[in-house]
Amino acid sequence: MRHLFSYLRPYRVAITCIVSFIFIQCLGNLYLPTLMSDIVDYGVLKGNLHYIVVTGLFMLGVSIASVCFSIAASFLSSRTASSFGKVLRREVFSHAQTFSLREFDEFGTSSLITRTTNDITQVQQLVNMMLRMMIMAPLNCIGGILMAVYTDARLSLILVVMVPVLATIIALVFSRATKLFRSMQAKIDTLNRVLRESLTGIRVIRSFNRVSYEQERFDAANFDLTNTTTRVQKIMAVMSPALMLVINLSVIAVIWFGGLRVEHGTMQIGSLIAFIQYVTQLLFAIMMVSMMFFMIPRASASANRIWAVLQTKPDIVDPVAEDIKPSSAEPLQVEFRDVTFSYPGAETPALSHISFTAKPGQVTAIIGGTGAGKSTLVNLIPRFYDVDEGTVLVGGMDVRLQTQSELRAKIGYVPQKAVLFSGTIADNIRAGRQHASDEEVKRAAQVAQAIEFIEEMPEGFASLIEQGGRNVSGGQKQRLSIARALAKRAPIYIFDDSFSALDFRTDARLRAALRDEVRDAAVIIVAQRVSTVRDAHQIVVLDEGRIAGVGTHDELMGSCQVYREIVASQMAEGESA
């Protein structure tokens, strides 16, 4: 949490102003009882009407000044907290943009989203509260003590007794409650989990007739949570009556001891009335501070999560300027030289000793079972991850010696899971090349077999894609994602299992159209189906991260056992002979 507060440094001036404004306002509020005691002591008791009116007007003036300072402080604190949130949010977002896929894998996409959105809102709210309440409360304390001591130092000794009592009660309740809060949170999670399971598994539950069993499971979790929550609430129920009682008893003590001092003539009656107000104000301020402590753990957890993002150094950075080497002119080839790669924390490498070359004008297919490392392999080409050993070369140059943007500009990439952004269809295709002409956009859509459904839409290319592409089907998404890559007109294309959501007819037509379109490029296709890779110039067979064979379909059928197994698993023996 402390680290994030360094982001408040630019607001030093504003914060200083806020503190002083609030202090002035506190003093103003504390001054009013003093003035009132003067009205009592010098006006009322002496029957001085003029004094009463003048002091009254003065009180009004103090009130006005105090509200002005208070509003000014509120203005500054709103702006400061919001601006703090804005800067922090931008910082986190722009930092996350530099992350490689490895950092995204580590945090998890949904966790990163939470960190950039809710967590920052949490911290921003805390800052806002701090700038209002947390500054106000201690200042009220200090002001209250000052005024109390100034009014009557000996009577202030009551505070020496009462403040520790108050603190003890607060500490006791908190230490018991926080533990229960934590266990309550865990039970809420359990209840939600049971509920989510009973929603996602509804067909299974009903098919196995386990409805009543689920009912019991839910009831158990519900009961457990209810018990804990009730206990928390019952403990918290002590808090405010106990604190109120302490404050009220302090007031009684003030009346008693103060009364004695009035009797001895060492204190005036108006001062006593004012003193009572100082004491209550002070004790309430202490309570306010204690309430703040409830907010801190939650915001501090958020702050730590945000800080973890900001602290993470991106794994992949551009080479320093003097190391950058230009790659050879087009056409470009992609070469793997004895590449080994492991995901962080994994025992065995995801890829080991991979060597092959994908030549321009050729189709290189990569096939293998799940977990064989196909997607991992193609992710190394645009340098989404860095290799552990060996080299990936694009255009004869190590990818680590090129800037990421230059390297990626050479690659038309179609991911396994089609991702579209909100905006028009044309916008999405133009993501490939910002200045593509309408003709080029249309052409890309045509090759990707997307033109038919685009033109069927009422707005054509101007039709809006909703967030996450919810309003188009999986197959349409995939075709648009292919069109986007084609619009780039890159010398290298990567299709990471990009035809899976297409029906067979579209699949066949698309591949035929592609063949002409990307004739001169180096094309790398990851596939599951043998029928997709059959015609490739070269097939790389992966098995558990190793190359099991490289060659054409016919060559592999003769030489590669793994390939034959894959073929066999997809077709009946008679068919593949």
Binding site: G56, S78, F93, A96, Q97, T200, T229, M236, V419
Partner: protein, 624 residues
């Protein structure tokens, strides 16, 4: 003496981890459609707690009354002191201070305070039980209701939406019951009590304090109206910004691959700036309410001091009266500030309750037959007779005049492109949905004449969308049949070819599957669901063949396990493998949700229809 009490201590509730933040003036509130009706219905849930609620009500009123009385008692102490001073001033000998009077007052005060604190504690303590028990009962009722809802309900809305009703709406109701209800009572009591006390002390000063009332209302209203605009804007910008972040993060790979970082950033900055602009204004304007109300309170304070002082010099009231009056004037403005926020909270709570009641009012599944037929030893004949079905009654039916005749022990292959609606078949067979016309019969008995539970117990289901729950592997397999023995579980796992991999896991059968069950592979999950089905020992099966998401070796295991499972049972196989399809007794070809062709492999090829085209493009002649 508690005139500085910051808007009643009761509002300072423990911040619940999921609790809503404090209501600020102008913050958008969800309004219920039928406030009265929902409130009446909600109050029915209090019936079992009536006497407890009566205690809470009584305690709240008493505790509030006592705290209202205390300034009136305290003023006597002040008056005694003042009298003592006056006497000394006028040199009346021997009469000095009335110490016993002050002691008396102090004791009286102490009793009032202790009782008030005690009552307030009892009230909160009892209310905690009532609130939590009510929420508990309501939660269980909703969950029980979900078991009676048709599948159509769950299919037509995202899981997240149902979850959010559970989480947020119940949380809302629980908090309001705990805090707001008693706060409402004490606010009203305080308001009325204080008016009475103020008039008792001095009608003139009371009138003066009342004059500040319209000002308070005006300020509250104006601020709420102004800040609302910015709160709405803030909400909108926050939605846009979060949407953008979500989109850019989920598409991170694409952003990188296409070098879109700069564009993502500039869009972000634009949304972020908009959020800042409306955000700080909403904060500032809604935050003004506190200093302004404080200021109005101070005006009252000044007026009371001046007019009170004047009245004292006239001998109309005592100094202690001023002191008490100041405290009352402070307490008086509190309920006014509070009531608007309380009313917002209650509105949003009733809206939450309404959403929950809507769920409870959803139409349930058709009732079970009165005289259910029991098939004790099902053979597994399945017939569809002239079946008509549509997910939405007003739409073109997906199935019309569908006739099928499957004999016991036969294997039916269901083929078609992805998303062709193969689950529709599952839905009808298991009676997750009811047919709109015609009938489905098992061993000659219409399935609507059986209990659903009985019908479903005759089926085993192994789908690709494997559902396992957070628990041990043993429990997950045992889910197939309540009361299965350890030996039966292991036997089922062995038959499902799962025993081996289970034993290689660190804790064997006691391995706990995590929430996403991501600690075992997709294929292993499917083996577990097969083991679960084997344990259930059904007469009929619905199977989903493994596709590409499983590696070759596991796929062979799954294949073996499935063949083993299918022996002697009527099976419906959602098929991806040619060998399965060719061996099937009947092939159903599905597209766009409906069965478009049926027959054996040879018959369908001869027809040269959709199946033939599918077959030739995907399988035949592939490898030379």
């Amino acid at each position: 003496m508690s005139e500085r009490e910051p808007r009643d201590m009761r509002i300072m509730r423990p911040p619940m981890p999921m609790g809503r933040g404090g209501m600020r003036p102008g913050m958008p509130v969800q309004k219920p459609k039928d406030f009265k009706g929902t409130l009446r219905r909600l109050s029915r849930y209090f019936k079992p707690h009536l006497w407890r609620l009566a205690v809470v009500l009584l305690m709240t009123i008493l505790s509030t009354l006592f705290s209202i009385l205390s300034p009136d008692v305290m003023k006597n102490a002040t008056d005694d002191l003042v009298a003592g001073i006056r006497h000394r001033l006028h040199g009346i000998p021997g009469s000095g201070f009335d110490v016993s009077g002050i002691v008396h007052v102090i004791l009286e005060l102490a009793v009032l305070y202790v009782l008030s604190a005690l009552f307030s504690y009892v009230q909160q303590f009892v209310m905690a039980g009532v609130a939590q028990k009510t929420v508990y009962a309501l939660r269980n009722e909703v969950h029980a209701k979900m078991a009676r809802l048709p599948l159509a309900f769950f299919d037509s809305r995202p899981t997240g939406e149902i979850m959010s009703r559970f989480v947020n709406d119940f949380d809302n109701i629980g908090n309001t019951l705990q805090q707001t209800l008693t706060q409402l009572i004490s606010s009203i009591v305080t308001f009325l009590g204080v008016i009475v006390m103020m008039f008792a002390i001095s009608p003139w000063m009371s009138v003066v304090v009342f004059l500040t009332l319209p000002l308070s209302f005006y300020v509250t209203r104006t601020i709420a109206k102004r800040s609302q605009r910015y709160f709405v804007g803030q909400q909108r910008s926050l939605g846009q910004l979060n949407g953008h972040i979500e989109e850019m993060y989920t598409g991170h790979q694409i952003v990188k691959a296409f070098g879109l970082e700069d564009r993502a950033m500039s869009q972000f900055v634009e949304y972020n700036e908009k959020l800042f602009e409306s955000g700080w204004k909403a904060q500032f304007i809604s935050g003004m309410i506190f200093p302004l109300m404080n200021f109005i309170g101070n005006i009252g304070y000044v007026l009371v001091s001046v007019i009170g002082g004047f009245l004292v010099t006239r001998g109309a009231i005592g100094i202690g009266d001023i002191q008490a009056f100041i405290m009352y004037a402070r307490q008086f403005s509190q309920p006014i500030t509070q009531l608007s926020s309380i009313s917002n909270i209650i509105q949003s709570t009733v809206a939450s309750a309404e959403r929950i009641f809507e769920l409870l009012d959803e139409p349930e599944e058709a009732p079970e037959p009165e005289d259910p037929v029991l098939i004790s030893n099902p053979a597994g004949d399945v017939q569809f007779e002239d079946v008509r079905f549509a997910y939405q009654p007003d739409k073109q039916p997906l199935m019309e005049h569908l006739n099928l005749d499957v004999k016991a022990g036969q294997m039916v292959a269901v083929v078609g492109p992805t998303g062709a609606g193969k689950t529709t078949l599952v839905n009808l067979l298991m009676r997750f949905y009811d047919v709109d016309g015609g009938a489905i019969r098992i061993d000659g008995v219409d399935i609507t004449r059986m209990r659903r539970g009985h019908l479903r117990s005759m089926f085993g289901m192994v789908l690709q969308d494997t559902w396992l729950f957070h628990g041990t592997i043993r429990d997950n397999i045992a889910y197939g049949r309540a009361g299965a023995t350890e030996a039966e579980i292991v036997a089922a796992a062995t038959a499902a070819r799962a025993d081996h991999f289970i034993r290689t896991l660190p804790d064997g059968y006691d391995t706990v599957l995590n929430e996403e069950a991501s600690n075992i592979s997709q294929g292993q999950k499917q083996l577990l669901t097969i083991a679960r089905a084997i344990l259930a020992d059904p007469a009929m099966l619905i199977l989903d063949e493994a596709t590409s998401s499983v590696d070759t070796r596991t796929e062979i295991l799954i294949q073996e396990a499935m063949s083993r499972l299918m022996e002697g049972r009527t099976s419906f196989v959602i098929a991806h493998r040619l060998s399965t399809i060719r061996n099937a007794d009947l092939i159903l070809v599905m597209n766009h949700g409906s069965v478009i062709e049926q027959g054996t492999h040879e018959e369908l090829l001869a027809r040269r229809g959709f199946y033939a085209e599918l077959y030739y493009s995907q399988f035949a002649g592939a490898p030379a």
